[in-house]
């Protein structure tokens, strides 16, 4: 599974409602730090995604002003985490602002573990 490139708010909503945990990367094309962390984000998506349980989204802020406004993005990149459609804090961070590779790696590792546990226990999205 790879990164979901979001092109509309309905697409994002449908990903949030069909997947228990979603990590989202709000970025811009001309943002250097966004580019720097992109390969790592791709790798995490490839290794940790679980259909229905953990997905990775990329949201281009220039093209998706509605989504970025709704979630109050104020700097780039910003990483946010969602559980059953609601924004949640991971490791005490409501969100990660800036390309903080360490914080992102540990937040993602935690979600990957939780997603796996939920999948093994047969818990369905929304439950």
């Amino acid at each position: 599974m790879t990164v979901h490139h979001i092109s509309s708010s309905s697409e994002f909503e449908s990903l949030l409602s069909s997947t228990m945990y979603v990590v989202s990367d709000f970025y811009a094309d001309w943002c250097g730090p966004c580019k720097a962390i992109a390969p790592m984000y791709e790798k995490m998506a490839e290794s940790a995604s679980i259909q229905g349980y953990l997905a990775f989204a990329k949201i281009n802020v220039d093209n998706n002003q509605d989504i970025s406004s709704k979630y109050g993005v104020t700097a780039m990149p910003t990483f946010m985490f969602f559980k059953n459609g609601k924004q949640v804090a991971v490791n005490g961070n409501a969100l990660i602002r800036g390309a903080d590779a360490q914080a992102l790696a540990s937040a993602t590792a935690k979600l990957a573990k939780l997603a796996k546990e939920k999948q093994d226990a047969g818990v369905k999205v929304g439950a």
Binding site: A28, W30, A36, G72, V73, T74, A75, G98, A101
Partner: protein, 348 residues
């Protein structure tokens, strides 16, 4: 990690100085290893040019080139000629004896890596004012990078402020006119420092208003930045200026945290080099680009000093080799009898 534990020459940096040095050293078959850093100094590999848009004064590009693209090209050229590029950050350097020792971020407890010579091209980063309120609204309206953050919704059709009077202030302000309703430029003095071409573009732009004799004294807001308190430097009167975005373009500070206690730096923190050369106060350490240049600070002057550093480094290593490689003897002593690996680099 693919780089060998010992290399003849290691370059620290990722901008025009670092890559120009790498191209020259690679073509001289010195197998340079370049640590471009993983967001070292808070900046993407490629350095300050990754935070710019059009570069119109780098020769060879008749209609200009985008800063990030210029850096991608330089990086490709370094690789093409055999530079080994490592996307990790050097966290610690020991320049007290040769070979020099260095440690990478997140691996500071591991045995050091070593190099006979080091080219320091760590560059500089944008200065901040540290106004009251700045910490509160940092990245919530106050940004270090207009090009990175310009597109966020809180800046759309809102008044924005750039502080500074030089070319980078002009560039940032003009870039922000794409997003903001109005862009104020606060200039402490009575004139812009920017080049004529940039100053004229700025003064002519219908969305831009340049406020001379003006400084910011405080950042205010609710959850995000809403206004600035600004002061007229002539009469000291203050007033509120509505502002949803604040961008600094007030100069740079050199990135010398790795070395500033180990080699000579000047009163502003820039690495001191012997005039007309890139030699630092430590033999075998050469400094190039913005880390040693507070006067010109251009992509092209950085590239020029990167070339100088490579040629000087090459000459030093050749002289030492002729004199019977005293460095290797020291290396063997240093590393508890473990002889540094010296088989050829499989990547080249």
């Amino acid at each position: 990690m693919s780089a060998k534990p010992h290399n003849k020459v290691v370059i620290i940096g990722s901008g025009p100085a670092a890559h120009t040095a790498a191209i020259y050293l690679a073509r001289a078959e010195l197998k340079p290893v370049l640590y471009e850093g993983m967001l070292a100094n808070g900046m993407a590999a490629g350095g300050q040019l990754t935070t710019t848009t059009d570069v119109e004064n780098f020769p060879g590009f008749p209609t200009g080139i985008m800063g990030p693209e210029l850096m991608e090209n330089m990086r490709k050229q370094s690789l093409h000629f055999g530079t080994e590029i490592v996307t990790e950050t050097v966290a610690k350097l020991d320049l007290s004896s040769r070979p020099f020792k260095y440690w990478l971020e997140w691996a500071e407890d591991e045995p050091p890596r070593t190099a006979d010579a080091i080219i320091l091209a760590t560059g500089a980063s944008a200065k901040r004012l540290h106004l009251p309120g700045e910490e509160t609204y940092w990245q919530s309206g106050i940004s270090a990078c207009a090009v990175c953050d310009g597109a966020v919704p809180i800046f759309r059709n809102k008044p924005l402020v750039v502080i500074g009077g030089g070319d980078s202030a002009a560039e940032e302000a003009l870039y922000l006119t794409k997003y903001g309703s109005k862009v104020y430029v606060l200039v402490r003095k009575d004139k812009l420092r920017a080049s004529n071409i940039m100053a004229n573009r700025l003064l002519k732009h219908p969305k831009v208003e340049v406020l001379f004799h003006t400084v910011a004294v405080e950042a205010k807001g609710e959850k995000v930045l809403k206004s600035l308190v600004i002061k007229d430097t002539r009469d000291g009167k203050t007033r509120d200026l509505e502002a949803n975005g604040l961008f600094y373009a007030i100069g740079h500070e050199p990135a010398t945290s790795l070395v500033k206690t180990q080699l000579d730096v000047d009163e502003d923190g820039y690495v001191v080099t012997v005039p007309g050369t890139t030699e630092t106060s430590v033999k075998g350490v050469f400094a190039a680009g913005d880390v040693q240049d507070k006067k010109y600070r251009q992509a092209i002057t950085s590239a020029g000093s990167g070339c100088m550093a490579a040629l000087e480094c090459e000459r030093l290593l050749a002289e030492e080799e002729d004199a019977g490689a005293p460095i290797m003897v020291e290396a063997m002593k240093e590393s508890n009898g473990v002889v540094p690996e010296s088989k050829s680099n499989p990547l080249v």
